[in-house]
């Protein structure tokens, strides 16, 4: 009750201040008046009675102040006073205020931006129902432990799974855009009937797949994404139930997915986010030796966990091993991971390191502001001491300083939100590939709360030093001392902060050096091909004869040196195709130990993209189903399968389809050539070796043409379109782009990382040098008289300069030493992101060390030069 009443009173006191004050005044005056009345009645003269009454009461103002000091809401009042005072202080030194606020805005803004990515990628659950129960399964067989499953295996896993209540699979292929209108090639997801219900609570229209779609005679059914429905069918509200053209067949649209539905899979699952149409794919035990192509997700039974599921899958894998499938007698395994953790496993390390980087920048910025505040506190020492002498309590003075820091922090945080938002936009625009799945990065309440906490935390951090200094005030000493000389105390605080700044900046710069070296190495990495003057586009293929004809026509175009086609372009990973391949006489174990990418090509591909044929021959037009079945392999596979002999003429068990589309079977082929490995997945890692099969043996519904042109040949797109149309005007052309574009895209991740690191460490270096410069110039200004005396008694100018420089380096050198020690722990964390450079790289250390020394020397030189130019006469009169 009393509390409520006091809160009401506090509001009244704050909101109706005038009234409350008027009443107080009237009340105290009426008291003294009545007291005076008593005295007059006792015979004292009126004027004396009044004076005595006021004196007896203890002074009208004093009584009023005593009431004010005890009033409800006095805390707010004092805070408001402090705030007004702080604002006045900041307005009085706009340069200081601007520097502090900009430093904070950059420091906190960078943290806000990176945290919003951490929030979106690592903290926020995936946008799926029961996201915390979703798991992804990988098969392991031979050396790869992140491989897809065969239909046979999924069937048997389902039979044995009790910890999962759903096990679902998807395979992404290229297919035709459904419906009438110009043909276009899109990604199609072939999914088990329970896949979509796992990720999407309800469709926008119609229904999702169900058990009825798995029946043998089930009609072809399609589910459209919102995007396809809008752009191809004009958002037709009656689309459900309509039969539409789908490739060579027709299918019935049974549902449309909501607009916010998205596939979020790990990069190496070959399940890209741009799948536009889903069709149903039943699984069953029909083909024990069938290919592994299904990427499997599962939902944990309520109350189960990943460990129990993994244990169960270990048993299941051992049983499946004995069933006579492709896994037989090999060490087939099933790994279970949380879908979210698996999705972010590549980007996690980068993000956390970036987070560490921005935190360091903020700490350096805070150190700078703390130094500035200390300097200001010293300048205001006289004022502070006078206020203390007049009766301001120490805690009130400390609170005053802390209020100033909080005000700076709040202003900095506001600017930081604006800056952070801009930074998020900029990072998203740069689109580093690993963030493609996570473009819903926003300033949500968590980010705002984070910014708020960081702002308060930093304000307290840099506000603490001056606030503590106030507590150590010594009135008699500090009042006597001149304001200028008072600054000599507590220099050790300042030097510690500067040393720490140098140390942190050094570590950041070392990390940046490593990341930049990595980027340069990646730029110069040999991808196994040359993208120079290679132009590509993708076509849907109606058959071998038209494909062959198009190739001949393209090769005959003016400016084109050679033309060929391949099923998967280098560095264009989506919809990948790979399997286990083995040589003649391989044991069952060996049959399931070497995986390779499966590539279908037309003759001339290697010449066109500048890949090196190391041994044997390229395909010719007569390598087809009717002749000897042949295959080309890369040198990586050659070393794995035939380490000691030439692979030429050896037999390799592959899958091919001599009978036409989608009739793949295991078959023996003779190796006729070895090609230098081409980087299909990344510029730096050899993910898998490759086999190349001639198109007539491995027909695909879609192929990418590659054209090697003379230098400076442009505008090939129109010519190519004409040639393709002259063969068959229904063949769609998509993805018209130079091969270099794919290479650039592959560089993007590393470019992004090194760019951000450069930005961060550049900031750190600038802040640290501002710190050195600021503290040193301040100290020169403080020592003007001393320097004047030194020079007056004969110290040469060079010696004065040396003295100031030495002062500066007395902070820099311990900082560098500390930074070196710190780097021994920090740089190894970068290892995963590096390519072709070790964390302990000596050249990196030397270059960065020299760089930091130069910048620090420059920062110290300017104040030192000013000290040197001091005129002794002026300096002595300065006091």
């Amino acid at each position: 009750m009393a509390v409520l009443s006091r809160i009401r009173a506090a509001f009244r006191n704050l909101l109706h201040k005038r009234q409350v004050e008027d009443r107080l005044d009237a009340e105290v005056r009426s008291y003294t008046d009545m007291l005076a009345d008593e005295k007059i009645a006792a015979g004292v003269s009126p004027s004396e009675a009044r004076r005595n009454a006021i004196a007896e009461a203890g002074g009208i103002e004093q009584v009023k102040q005593a009431v004010r000091d005890r009033r409800a809401g006095i805390g707010f009042e004092v805070f408001a006073q402090d705030l007004r005072y702080a604002l006045r202080q900041l307005r009085r030194s706009p340069g200081f205020a601007a520097l502090a606020i900009v430093t904070l805005a950059v420091g906190i803004g960078a943290n806000t931006a990176i945290f919003s990515f951490v929030n979106a990628v690592l903290l926020r659950p995936l946008p799926y129902p029961n996201a915390d129960r979703l798991a992804i399964l990988w098969s392991g067989l031979g050396y790869s432990n992140r491989a897809p499953f065969s239909s046979f295996e999924v069937f048997h896993i389902r039979q044995r799974a009790t910890q999962f209540d759903q096990v679902a699979g998807i395979w992404v292929t290229n297919g035709a855009l459904p419906g009438d209108g110009p043909a276009e090639q899109i990604k199609v997801g072939d999914v088990t009937s329970n896949f979509l219900p796992l990720l999407c609570p309800r469709p926008e229209l119609g229904r999702l797949f169900g058990p009825q779609d798995d029946l043998e005679n089930a009609p072809n059914a399609l589910i459209l994404t919102h995007g396809v429905w809008a752009r191809r069918f004009g958002s037709d509200p009656n689309i459900v139930g309509k039969s539409v053209r789908f490739g060579r067949n027709r299918a019935t649209v049974i549902g449309v997915l909501p607009q916010n539905f998205r596939l979020i899979f790990p990069d190496d699952a070959s399940v890209p986010p741009n799948v536009e149409v889903f069709s149903s794919l039943p699984v069953g035990p029909w083909e024990p030796q069938g290919p592994a192509f299904l990427h499997v997700i599962a939902r944990l039974r309520n109350g189960s966990n990943l460990v129990a599921a993994q244990t169960e899958m270990n048993t299941a894998a051992a049983e499946i091993n004995k069933l006579g499938g492709r896994a037989s007698m090999a060490n087939f395994s099933v790994s279970v991971f949380a879908l979210q953790a698996d999705d972010v496993r590549e980007v996690r390390a980068t993000l956390l390191l970036l987070f560490g980087g921005v935190a360091l920048v903020l700490v350096i910025g805070c150190a700078n502001i703390a130094n500035l505040l200390m300097a200001r506190a010293r300048q205001r020492l006289r004022e502070t001491t006078i206020r203390a002498a007049l009766g301001a309590s120490r805690s009130r003075l400390a609170r005053q300083f802390l209020t100033e820091s909080l005000l700076l922090g709040a202003l900095g945080a506001l600017a930081a939100l604006v800056l952070g938002y801009a930074a998020i936009r900029a990072i998203l625009a740069a689109r580093p590939p690993s963030f493609v799945n996570f473009d819903n990065v926003t300033l949500d309440w968590r980010v705002l709360a984070f910014t708020f906490v960081v702002a308060i935390g930093t304000s307290v951090l840099f506000g603490l030093a001056p606030a503590m200094a106030v507590r150590r005030l010594d009135l008699t000493r500090d009042l006597k001392e001149s304001n200028r000389h008072a600054g000599f105390r507590r220099r050790h605080w300042t030097s510690l902060l500067v040393s720490a700044e140098v140390a942190l900046a050094f570590v950041l710069l070392l990390s940046t050096g490593l990341l930049m070296r990595t980027f340069i190495n990646i730029l110069h990495a040999d991808p196994g091909f040359s993208a120079d003057n290679v132009f590509t586009f993708r076509v849907s293929v109606p058959g071998y004869a038209p494909l062959h004809l198009i190739q001949q026509k393209l090769a005959a175009l003016p400016g084109v040196r050679s033309a060929a086609a391949i099923s998967h372009l280098p560095l264009d990973d989506a919809g990948n195709w790979y399997d286990y391949y083995y040589k003649e006489g391989a044991s069952a174990d060996e049959q399931n130990s070497v995986m390779a990418d499966h590539r279908s090509i037309l003759p001339g591909y290697f010449t066109t993209i500048g890949a090196t044929l190391q041994e044997g021959r390229d395909f010719t037009d007569s390598d087809d189903a009717q002749h000897q079945h042949v295959v080309l392999i890369d040198d990586v596979l050659a070393r794995q399968l035939w380490p000691n002999t030439s692979p030429i003429g050896q037999k390799l068990n592959i899958s091919d389809s001599p009978a036409g589309f989608y009739q793949f079977q295991r078959d023996w082929a003779v190796v006729v050539g070895v090609v230098h490995h081409v980087q299909y997945h990344s510029l730096t890692a050899i993910v898998r070796p490759q086999i190349y099969v001639p198109y007539p043996l491995a027909p695909r519904p879609s192929m990418s043409f590659v054209l090697h042109t003379g230098a400076g040949v442009t505008n090939l797109a129109d010519a190519a379109r004409r040639e393709v149309a002259s063969v068959n005007k229904d063949i769609p052309i998509t993805h018209v782009e130079p091969l270099q574009l794919l290479v650039d895209r592959a560089h993007a991740e590393s470019r992004f990382a090194s760019l951000l690191a450069m930005l961060l460490s550049g900031l750190a270096l600038v802040l640290a040098s501002i710190g050195i410069y600021g503290v040193l110039s301040y100290s020169v200004a403080q020592r003007t008289t001393e320097i004047g005396i030194r020079m007056a008694i004969g110290a040469p100018r060079s010696q004065v300069m040396r003295m100031i420089l030495a002062d500066g380096f007395a902070w820099v050198l311990p900082g560098l030493t500390a930074g070196f020690v710190l780097s021994l722990f920090v740089t190894p964390l970068l290892e995963r992101l590096l390519y072709g450079v070790k964390p302990g790289n000596a050249a990196n250390y030397i270059v960065i060390l020299v760089g930091v020394l130069i910048v620090c020397a420059l920062a110290a030189f300017l104040p030192a030069r000013r000290a040197m130019k001091i005129d002794p006469l002026t300096a002595l009169r300065y006091e």
Binding site: M1, A2, R6, A9, R23, E27, S30, V63, A66, R71
Partner: protein, 110 residues
């Protein structure tokens, strides 16, 4: 009477004010005179302590106040106890008696 020669125990002032007002209505000077009277001059409350206490107790909801006319036709602020104030007076009186008896016993002990 020398002013303020007896320091008020912490919390005593509130009780004295509540008791002094009792069921009546008094202005500031009246309250201070009444305290003097009922303590037989032991306590003399000066406005520097009285007014902060009155305002604080009013903010806590124990007192309410209104402008009125004094005996000499001066405009003055008159205080009276609210229902909560009466409850508070009862509670504090009981508490004080308990403490006082305990202290008296303790000091009488040999």
């Amino acid at each position: 009477m020398v002013q303020n020669q007896t320091t008020l125990l912490q919390g005593t002032l509130d009780l004295l004010i509540l008791k002094a007002i009792g069921s009546g209505e008094f202005h500031g000077l009246g309250i201070s005179r009444r305290i003097e009277q009922i303590t037989h001059g032991t306590f003399q409350v000066k406005p520097g302590s009285l007014f902060p206490a009155l305002h604080r107790m009013e903010e806590a909801g124990w007192l309410s106040s209104d402008w009125g006319e004094s005996e000499n036709n001066r405009r003055a602020r008159f205080y009276r106890l609210t229902k909560t104030g009466h409850r508070q007076l009862g509670a504090e009186t009981a508490q004080w008696i308990k403490v006082a008896v305990a202290m008296a016993n303790a000091l009488k002990a040999t």
